[in-house]
């Protein structure tokens, strides 16, 4: 029985091998067909029929079943071949490209964002960003940076840049979603598409590289955040900060699935920044099950993250978690480290500065930090939220 099955699989493998060879030749000249799996299956079945000494092998449901199974398991490789967007992202992550322009380049070439929007995300003018993008693209063309997918040795160093690009796209989708929460409008749908697109790429990468813990970490991180998407606004359209989300609006299935992905990443025993950020989001999501946010665990995770990979955003978030625990001095120390970078145009920094001052009871009557945050905020719902904060705190 086993021998029979083995021979089946061998026959199916041979047929599939032929089909793949043919695919490589045909697809490079004719382009990839619309449904590559179907194409492969049909060609492989034809080959099987041609090769079969006994007609029964080709028609045997066990053989064709094994064939279908194999084509399905090929899905990952198939999508790698089909999804040129990922290939393109790896080109943008070539070591000969300035690291600072890699993510913007991915956002433009892969996700079609314009220079002005990318400039916003990186705190530079659209014109400056446009120039840098043009220069990078000229370099790729003129120095003939190869478009081949990187080999195994080159993959690891480029992978992080690609993960960052995907996360940046997700971040842009998030901000767009806050700016235009109504999913009935074209802009709202655009934001949702950007989220979905980024999630799709993260999923694809995690499928292709199942033993890369950071790829799994990013997928978990994004899935946790995405699961809470519907709770960002209440029925009246008002913005709701994470700590006050109505957890019944969270997507439980997605949270469970993110948890599973994160566990898989952790089992590989190579921690990294995306896994840590995912663990922080996992902790936030615990409120769905326990009713409480484990702030001290969150503060510890930020501590580890900031010891290894500090960014302005993670330092400010760390400060916010310490403030929740009443550890104001430590919180202010984190804000001070964040302020060594350029925080002038980073609104969350000013919100947290104001928040800590209010909690400590030594807020200046001008609320200059909060005012500065409002002036930096364009999204109407966020502005309304911050303005409401001003009046409600004043009443206290």
């Amino acid at each position: 029985m086993l021998a029979y099955r083995f021979r089946d699989i061998e026959a199916a493998e041979d047929a599939l091998g032929d089909a793949l060879r043919e695919a490589l030749e045909r697809w490079t000249t004719d382009g990839v067909p619309e449904s590559p799996e179907a194409w492969l299956t049909v060609v492989a079945k034809n080959r099987l029929r041609e090769r079969a000494r006994r007609r029964t092998t080709a028609e045997d449901p066990r053989v064709t079943g094994a064939l279908t199974e194999m084509v399905c398991s090929l899905d990952g490789e198939r999508r790698a071949a089909v999804d040129h967007r990922l290939d393109l992202m790896f080109v943008c992550a070539h070591p000969s490209i300035d690291p600072a322009i890699r993510t913007p380049l991915m956002l433009q070439t892969v996700l079609g964002l314009d220079a002005a929007r990318i400039g916003d995300a990186f705190f530079v003018s659209g014109a400056t960003m446009g120039q840098r993008l043009v220069r990078a693209k000229q370099k790729i063309r003129d120095a003939r940076v190869p478009f081949d997918p990187p080999d195994a040795r080159e993959l690891a160093p480029r992978l992080h840049a690609v993960l960052e690009g995907i996360y940046a796209a997700f971040g842009v989708g998030w901000s767009l979603g806050v700016e235009t929460p109504e999913s009935s409008t074209a802009e709202g749908q655009g934001a949702e598409r950007m989220d979905e697109e980024a999630l799709f790429l993260a999923r694809l990468l995690a499928d292709l590289l199942p033993s890369e813990p950071e790829a799994l970490g990013l997928l978990a991180l994004m899935t946790f955040s995405h699961a809470r998407r519907k709770a960002r606004f209440d029925d009246s359209g008002a913005f709701v900060p994470l700590a006050h989300h109505d957890v019944s609006r969270w997507d439980r299935d997605s949270i469970v699935s993110a948890e599973r992905t994160l566990l898989r990443a952790a089992s590989l025993r190579q921690p990294g920044p995306f896994q840590l950020e995912a663990a922080i989001q996992s902790a936030h999501c615990q409120r769905l099950f326990s009713g409480n946010t484990p702030w001290s665990a969150i503060a510890i995770l930020y501590e580890v993250l900031n010891r290894n990979a500090p960014t302005v955003a993670t330092l400010v978030a760390h400060a916010a978690s310490l403030a929740e625990l009443g550890r104001y001095e430590e919180a202010e120390a984190r804000l001070a480290s964040a302020a060594t970078a350029n925080v002038e145009s980073y609104a969350p920094y000013w919100v947290v500065v104001d928040h800590i001052a209010v909690l400590r009871g030594d807020v200046d009557p001008e609320r200059s930090a909060l005012r500065h945050a409002i002036s930096l905020t364009r999204a109407p719902a966020l502005r309304r939220y911050l303005e409401a904060k001003w009046t409600s705190d004043a009443k206290r």
Binding site: H94, S96, D142, A143, R144, V145, P146, D148
Partner: protein, 120 residues
């Protein structure tokens, strides 16, 4: 596609050329590298250069010629030589640059060569 491999060497590295103890190893490494390059058939042209103390710089400002001893003053890196290679893409050029002795004791710059101007 043609790329120039530009070998920048540190002052210490250049000094090894004249050191009785170091010179054999220095020239041995370069000879091995150049042999590998030429056997692979990628070389279009190229040269090593004499040490920077032999350099003279010329500048014209306001129509007046200024001749000065040496390359850039206080430079920590010096141009030691160059090759033009014909390879398929940047990755292959970077592979060759990686093998150069100057990459271990200095830096190797890789620049695509401008295509010749169209003839009319």
């Amino acid at each position: 596609m043609q790329y120039m491999l530009i070998f920048h060497e540190s002052t210490n590295e250049i000094a090894r050329r004249e050191s009785p103890k170091e010179a054999p190893a220095y020239w041995g490494a370069w000879n091995a590298y150049i042999k590998e390059l030429s056997e692979s058939g990628v070389i279009v042209s190229g040269n090593g250069l004499q040490a920077p103390h032999t350099a003279t710089s010329v500048r014209v400002t306001d129509g007046k010629r200024h001749v000065q001893d040496g390359p850039l003053p206080d430079a920590k890196e010096h141009l030691g030589g160059y090759f033009i290679v014909e390879v398929s893409d940047l990755d292959v050029a970077l592979e060759w640059a990686t093998k150069s002795p100057s990459t271990k004791a200095g830096r190797t710059e890789v620049r695509p060569v401008l295509p010749p101007p169209p003839r009319d």
